[in-house]
């Protein structure tokens, strides 16, 4: 099972329109990704809350069709 990187980016963008997103396909198998998501919406949230927002954007695909998404989240630098 796999998920396309563009599809991941599209889903995150839909929930966090301002997000700067970088996605790397770690193993080249379309199943192990690393994503960096930078969004002002993360401001004031804990890391757990930030990751939960990204997982929510992926609407249940995380842990299902998407096995591994190493996630780094942050707020844009002023």
């Amino acid at each position: 099972m796999a998920m396309d990187a563009h599809e991941i980016e599209r889903m995150i963008k839909a929930a966090l329109p301002d997000a700067a997103i970088e996605i790397k396909d770690l193993a080249g198998d379309g199943d192990h990704y690393a994503a960096t998501v930078v969004s002002a919406a993360f401001k004031g949230k804990t890391r757990v809350q930030q990751h939960q927002m990204v997982y929510a954007a992926l609407q249940g695909n995380m842990g299902g069709v998407l096995h591994a998404l190493a996630l780094t989240t942050s707020v844009p630098q002023d």
């Binding site: 890391r47 757990v48 990751h51 939960q52 997982y55 842990g63 299902g64 780094t72």
Partner: protein, 111 residues
């Protein structure tokens, strides 16, 4: 469902540090679970490993309990700390060691 929530709650209340993982601390069955086990081992903090592969009810239940879609999941004093990425980030920043200190959990090795 409420039964499994009660079981999970008991685990995280009765143990200072609980790692819900695939496999055991000695034999992790997934690279992500292994990384967290390795970090906890390095810090030298005693913890209870709960092998979700042996308990389908907990494997699904913990995801709803924490609102977190993946395994591993680390709990300290009943509080959800994060999965593999957050635990590693915190460890590298020295925040994880500080957290154990702040919560009064003894570690073997000074950080």
């Amino acid at each position: 469902m409420s039964d499994v929530n009660a079981r999970i709650e008991a685990e995280v209340k009765n143990n200072d540090v609980v790692l819900f993982m695939k496999g055991t601390p000695q034999f992790p069955m997934c690279g992500f679970s292994g990384q967290v086990a390795q970090i906890l081992g390095y810090i030298g903090v005693p913890y209870k490993g709960v092998n979700v592969l042996e308990d389908q009810e907990i494997r699904e239940g913990i995801k709803a309990f924490s609102n977190w879609p993946t395994i591993p999941q680390l709990y300290v004093k009943g509080e959800f700390i994060g999965g593999c990425d957050i635990t590693r980030e915190m460890f590298q920043a020295g925040e994880l060691q500080a957290l154990f200190e702040e919560k009064g959990i003894a570690v073997k090795q000074a950080s």
